[in-house]
């Protein structure tokens, strides 16, 4: 029962840390980090991100878990996670190339042909391809399998027509990983097909979707008869649900593992404690108010529980397994915790909570979080979707069925209830 590195893991960590510290300055852990839903990077930031990626690649640190034939290091997935943890300790350009090396890359590794992998993966590791994931639609969010964006076959090409939304990185992506509907006559989970598309091609229109904070992070993407060669199809025709599930599984997995990096909870909790030291409640320092102390302590208990939960997920990985929906717990509970911490922070500020930006305490980090937290509870699967998955897959509870109101009484499914004591 030990959450510390095994000797092998520790050796790898030392090696990674040495290279990182030699190549980038340390990050100030007390620095307020820009939120997840800030504006997308400008051209200079994009170039810096590509340069940093190239530097890692050339030193053999890109794609730690990827096979060497595609430019990867050929390591274990545990090593990938250790690398990710260590990379967070140093100051790097915005992590806008993450998706291609993360869940989209893994999906291609799992479902792409050898030719496709050779074509897409090495340039991705060299920082030449920024990816976006084209899944959600205005009519298909939580019910992702209800997506309607249509692909119609025309000889050796496909013609794509439809729209996608909530596309992170959409504004600057080079390539996109797209799920389409190819058979509208089948049940909704059947009849989906995946493609890789060129985001600069004619027929692709990318527009901002503005965030509650007024900035732009997401995009709306419209496809007007985009032509995609059949060679860019990933997986079999009408088998796209299975392919997309791989993406979603890896997304959940990396979020679950992320908890161990200290990125969850730690900095926000530190800000909150700092704030509680400066604010007052009823004429006394807030840190002397038992009610405030209880809430701070409860957040600490919860943040640590999420961290320890993340170690449990990593242990599964370390032992060669793939974690199931347990990984969702980390994401869901962190989002809820973060929202609660934000609420306390703003409450403690008193009148100053109505201010924003530079006029607000701590440069408005809690005001920014107020508008970001709700999104964390929605993006990547709402609390409700997560609970359904946990209940059905982990607890074995049944799916909802439906009994018509006019069913004859004698045909009503029934069972259970009180029985006399034995």
């Amino acid at each position: 029962m030990d959450f510390r590195d095994s000797p092998d893991e520790a050796a790898f960590r030392r090696q990674a840390r040495a290279w990182l510290e030699a190549n980038a300055p340390l990050r100030d852990p007390h620095q307020v980090e820009p939120g997840v839903f800030e504006n997308w990077p400008d051209a200079a930031q994009m170039q810096a991100a590509r340069d940093w990626q190239r530097r890692k690649h050339d030193a053999g640190w890109a794609g730690v878990f990827w096979p060497p034939e595609y430019g990867g290091r050929g390591g274990t997935i545990m090593q990938q996670i250790i690398w990710n943890q260590e990379e967070r300790r140093v100051l790097t350009p915005p992590a806008v190339l993450l998706m291609g090396q993360g869940h989209v890359g893994y999906t291609l590794l799992a479902h792409g042909t050898a030719e496709q992998k050779q074509r897409w993966l090495p340039p991705t590791l060299r920082g030449e391809y920024a990816w976006c994931q084209l899944f959600s639609e205005p009519g298909a969010g939580s019910d992702f399998a209800a997506l309607a964006c249509a692909a119609r076959r025309e000889g050796d090409h496909w013609r794509i027509r439809g729209e996608k939304i909530w596309i992170s990185d959409g504004a600057y992506a080079d390539v996109g990983f797209l799920v389409t509907r190819t058979d509208p006559d089948g049940p909704k989970h059947k009849g989906l097909t995946c493609f890789v598309v060129d985001m600069r091609a004619p027929g692709v229109t990318v527009r901002d979707v503005r965030h509650p904070n007024g900035g732009s992070h997401f995009s709306h993407v419209r496809f007007d008869d985009l032509r995609v060669p059949d060679a860019d199809r990933v997986g079999a025709v009408d088998d796209g649900w299975r392919v997309a599930l791989t993406t979603l599984m890896y997304e959940r997995f990396f979020v679950g593992a992320w908890g161990s990096s200290g990125a969850f909870g730690g900095p926000q909790l530190r800000h909150l404690i700092e704030l509680a030291g400066r604010c007052e409640v009823g004429g006394r320092p807030a840190l002397q108010d038992d009610a405030v102390r209880q809430r701070l302590a409860a957040f600490t208990v919860r943040a640590r529980a999420i961290e320890h939960m993340s170690y449990r997920v990593l242990t599964t990985v370390s032992q060669g397994g793939i974690p199931g929906p347990e990984g969702s717990i980390v994401k869901m509970e962190f989002a809820r915790l973060s929202q609660e911490m934000t609420n306390l922070g703003l409450e403690l500020m008193g009148p100053a909570a109505m201010l924003d930006g530079a006029d607000a305490p701590l440069a408005g980090v809690f005001q920014a979080a107020l508008l970001e937290n709700p999104c964390m509870r929605i993006a990547g699967g709402t609390d409700e979707i997560q609970r359904t998955i946990i209940a059905e897959r982990l607890l074995g509870l049944p799916q909802e069925s439906h009994v018509p109101r006019d069913l004859p009484f004698r045909d009503l499914p029934r069972g259970g209830g009180w029985r006399p004591m034995a």
């Binding site: 007024g214 500020m349 008193g350 009148p351 005001q367 709700p374 509870r377 993006a379 609390d383």
Partner: protein
Amino acid sequence: MDFAYTAAQTALAGELAALFGRFAAPPRLRAWADAGIAAFDGELWQALADQRWLGLGLTPTHGGRGLGTDELTLAACEAGRALAPVPLVATLLAGEALKAIPRPAQLGALAAGDLRVALCLPPPGRLTPTVSVLDGRVSGALLPVVDGLLADAVLCADAAGNAWLVDLRGDGVRRRQLATLDLAHTAAELVLTDQPALALGPAGPWRDRAAILSAFEQLGGAQRCLDLAVAYARERYAFGQPIGAFQAVKHKLAALHVEIELARANAYFGAYALAEGEPGILAEAAALARASATDIYLLAAQESLHVHGGVGFTWACEAHLHLRRARALEAALGSAALWRERLLGKAAVPAQA
């Protein structure tokens, strides 16, 4: 037993709601934010004056409607629901204050819309900025003052716990605009030097009245958040049915409704106390009303946004305007926790040793 509004009062609220509806705030608030324009709807303000809404509680002699405090609570509720970018609640409250002194001249100006009032009555504490008074003239800094950027007067308290209505039109006023979370109202730092002011007596009862009216404003906002979520849950399909058919959403909305109705019940007690006017009842009712309404507006805004799913986290969705406003209303007069602690001080439980 008559613990409800009359049909005439409810109809009046409907009229005001219709007026606010014609000056729909959300698109304006977004446009002003983008253009960097200070939030204040001058046309709406003029219409409120023209239709004698600003003089709701004032006699017809002063250009008012001669109605009671119940009507003030309804107006606050509608202003909250509509996110009305005007200092209506503070101005109505100032009207009550001026009636009590009484000051006929100011009452006429107030009813005519020529006396825009800002409110600055944060809960007392070591760090609360207060002003000092010498010979009836007020000096000092107030920060942050909601609507302080363009108000003609501010209702505030001095360090001794007395309330003043300070004229903001003289030379001794410096204003600095502050960046705000709330898009519906500006905030400013006011630095006052020897500004003339009217003495309103102890600040406590005015803070309590403000708390009760703000509770109605919060309640109106909370109800709007629930209405938006219910409408979306009925129209938005997922998994083949409206999301409002799923118990996860349905029960969340039912629970919000319950919380709103409970908060409304405590707010009604506040309305009763406003009419009664007895300071002890006022203090108790203010704590009950404000503690309930503060919590529910924050929760309703947060969960309304959540029920809107992806649509909720867009600039175009009204929910975030309420999330911002709910925090600003909490900030201006103190958190639910502070009002709860005040309640205990008043109740059977002995105060902290």
